[in-house]
């Protein structure tokens, strides 16, 4: 009896067909998934755009000149419409504010010491211990500063009688 054998090429072809079939299936699944994702993104984008359009319309609606004018006249009574004579070519033409006779021409220095007299002595200590340092625009500083503030507060609490 002649044995029924599967020859290697047929086997390979069979395996290849299976592989290609699964690959095709996999790709088609991927495509469908991406398609879904794309549609979702488009939908989101359209929604966002529509939202922006609404906000734009609302912004211009709220900034109607007559509304602003009414609001200003109601809440900012000292703010007037700019008059032609308010405009000057030269900044030096702006008159210096007149000084009172006993007024010091130096700018007023606001001292934290004087204001802290009224507060608890413990808080005075806080202010003394904390060196005045400018707030730097660094992200890493945030945590440090917070810790520093925390430290001074806890230190202040301990000192309290």
């Amino acid at each position: 009896m002649k044995k029924f054998t599967i020859r290697l090429p047929s086997l390979l072809a069979f395996i290849l067909a299976i592989l290609l079939g699964s690959a095709l299936f996999w790709v088609s699944q991927q495509v469908q998934q991406l398609e879904r994702a794309k549609n979702n993104l488009i939908a989101e984008k359209t929604n966002e755009e529509e939202g922006i359009r609404v906000l734009n319309a609302e912004w211009d609606y709220l900034n109607r000149p007559d509304r602003l004018e009414t609001l200003v006249s109601r809440h900012l009574r000292t703010l007037e419409q700019t008059k032609p004579e308010d405009l000057l070519y030269d900044a030096k033409a702006v008159p210096e504010p007149a000084l009172e006779e006993d007024e010091n021409p130096q700018p007023v220095m606001v001292s934290t010491e004087t204001s802290s007299k009224a507060t608890k002595p413990a808080k005075k200590k806080i202010i003394d211990t904390s060196p005045a340092r400018p707030i730097e625009d660094k992200q890493s500083n945030g945590a440090d500063e917070f810790n520093h503030v925390l430290d001074t507060i806890t230190a202040g609490e301990k000192d309290e009688p």
Binding site: M1, F4, Q29, A43, E44, E50, E69, P84
Partner: protein, 586 residues
């Protein structure tokens, strides 16, 4: 090697010389069976894919109905996929020159019902009347119980209303999403922008004239209007109208060089967001472009310009204004007669009808008509909206018409024509064509066909004369120190059914500034102003329109950063030698 085929259980074995052939045949059968098997496996696989995998996603997405709809919408708009064959669903925006929205389309929900699907009509009708108090129960119930499959309940719901309707939980109520036209500036955007009907079709102003473009293009349409100017103009014209109890008012601000309309207001006006009941009512009427008025003495600008440009007299030339002119049945007289010969600057300054009529005689009928035609006062102007009226011109034009037209009687034009003609006279003599849609880049330079209507010299002289009127003539109340305003007043009696009525007037003023190098022309008109206490019984242009223009200019000057220059020379100074009077009021 023992083979385990599906056929191995078969005990039949045929031996012999034919057995090879049989084995071969069996191999074929196995192959065919395998192929069939693969085929069924494939189908099974596809079924799993279609039912389980895709089905899962489909079910998953059904929850976000609106998202799906948005996708569909986006596809149908075609912009994303480059298919522009379908009609764009969203109407393009209209903005002013600074990008402020004048008209935009926002997606809103509308509610309709399918009465066949309504479960409990009575309960639903009750719920709906609760949400919309203006709907009556009986009518709503009738709608919901009708035989149709589609009835509109309410269009353009607010999100809040939509939420309440969803809470009713009635399956027969269906939302439909559509775009609604919104005018964020309300009545301020006015007649020039126009309005649309409920289906978004343009019915007035730019909305109407550019309807097709707005429907098909997604590009924003930019107008020449400036909402800041528009606000100042509207506020002041409204104030003048209210103060003097006028029946209507109108105002225009124009760039005298480009002809761009920066602001245009016609009062009373309407809110384009509201329901337009009657398109022919007085609030819908655009007085600036459709209204024709006899604008009185403001016409003396053109008569004087015609004289200076065509006859070339010296300013010293005198015209006898000592006695009224009798022409046929007509008598031409002055409101404040000087009763003496007047020089040209004096005639202009005191606004003498007699003197101007004499000037017109010098120019001649044909000369005056041609000059008016050159300025665009004799024909319907071209403009970018459709509500444009043509002038009313005396036909036939006899000699007396020349005399009366010289001071603005018997000839009626639209405010838009007036302000464009004045711009032409003062900008160096280049004809101005009013425009409303902003041109940028190439199209702007293409359009700059220059037609010289009056000479530069005449233009300069006219500016001097206009300045003289504001510096010491009938329009002193328009003066803003440092801004060098020029202008001319006009108070005309109204012609009602062919008769001039003494106490019904049109008070108009057209101003230009700065007069040394004009940039803007401002026109203000109040229809039928009545005297009030503060005006000492006057309701002439000098009391009504002139102060309003002064306020408008001092309002918009700082907006454009115009610094007042109090040292600059008054260009009307040289004319003083020809003037021996300083009164005049109207």
């Amino acid at each position: 090697m023992s083979r385990k085929s599906p056929f191995s259980n078969l005990s039949m074995r045929i031996m012999g010389e034919k057995s090879g052939t049989l084995t071969f045949a069996r191999g074929r059968i196995v192959l065919v069976a395998t192929l069939f098997l693969l085929f069924y496996v494939l189908i099974a696989g596809r079924l799993v894919d279609a039912i389980l995998i895709e089905g899962y996603w489909r079910q998953h997405q059904e929850g976000s109905e609106q998202k799906k709809e948005a996708v569909l919408d986006d596809k149908s708009s075609g912009t994303l996929f480059g298919q522009d064959n379908e009609k764009a669903p969203r109407r393009a925006d209209i903005v002013d020159r600074n990008g402020v929205l004048l008209a935009t389309s926002l997606k809103t929900a509308s509610l309709h019902a399918d009465p066949k699907l309504i479960l409990d009509a009575a309960e639903t009708a009750k719920g709906l009347t609760h949400i919309f108090p203006d709907m009556t129960y009986g009518e709503t119930l009738k709608k919901l119980q009708s035989d149709k499959r589609f009835v509109w309940i309410r269009r353009n719901l607010t999100p809040n209303e939509q939420k309440k309707i969803l809470e009713l939980g009635e399956p027969g109520l269906v939302f439909d999403y559509s775009y609604r036209r919104i005018y964020p500036q309300g009545s301020l955007s006015g007649h020039m922008v126009g309005y649309t009907d409920i289906d978004g079709k343009g019915l007035g102003g730019v909305e109407r004239s550019f309807n097709k473009l707005l429907e098909t293009s997604q590009d924003t349409l930019e107008l020449t209007l400036d909402m800041r100017f528009q606000h100042v103009l509207r506020r002041e014209v409204k104030k003048a109208m209210t103060d003097f109890n006028g029946i209507a008012g109108s105002g225009i601000i124009m760039d005298v060089r480009s002809g761009e309309v920066l602001a245009a207001t016609s009062l009373p006006d309407f809110d384009p967001n509201g329901k337009i009941d009657d398109p022919s009512s007085s609030v819908m009427f655009n007085r600036n472009t459709s209204g024709v008025y006899e604008l009185g003495s403001t016409f003396k600008i053109f008569t004087t310009a015609a004289l200076l440009d065509r006859v070339h007299p010296s300013f010293n030339k005198r015209y006898d204004a000592s006695s009224p002119i009798h022409e046929g049945n007509h008598i031409i007289h002055d409101y404040h007669p000087e009763n003496r010969p007047l020089t040209i600057p004096e005639i202009f300054m005191v606004s003498s009808n007699i003197g101007t009529a004499h000037m017109a005689q010098d120019i001649g009928t044909e000369g005056l008509k041609k000059f008016f035609a050159d300025l665009g006062l004799m024909s319907k102007p071209e403009f970018e909206i459709e509500e444009v009226g043509g002038p009313i011109i005396p036909r036939p034009w006899s000699n007396i018409n020349t005399l009366t037209a010289s001071y603005g009687h018997g000839i009626a034009v639209t405010p838009l024509q007036m302000v464009a003609a004045v711009s032409t006279v003062v900008n160096g003599g280049i004809k101005v064509k009013p425009i409303l849609v902003r041109r940028t880049g190439e199209s702007a330079s293409q359009n700059s066909e220059k037609i010289q209507v009056v000479s530069k010299e005449t233009s300069l002289k006219m500016r001097q004369l206009l300045r003289l009127v504001v510096a010491s003539g009938t329009a002193r109340k328009a003066d803003v120190p440092g801004y060098m305003i020029g202008g001319k007043t006009g108070t005309a009696q109204k012609n009602v059914h062919g008769r001039y009525v003494a106490d019904k007037r049109i008070a108009a003023f057209v101003g230009i500034f700065p007069v040394n190098d004009p940039q803007y022309a401002v026109f203000v008109m109040v229809d039928e102003p009545k005297p009030n206490k503060d005006s000492y019984g006057y309701a002439t242009a000098g009391w009504v329109a002139v102060p309003a223009t002064g306020r408008i200019i001092s309002g918009i000057g700082p907006l454009i950063g115009m610094v007042p220059d109090k040292e600059s020379e008054d260009i009307s100074e040289p004319l003083r030698q020809f003037v021996s009077t300083s009164k005049g009021e109207h």
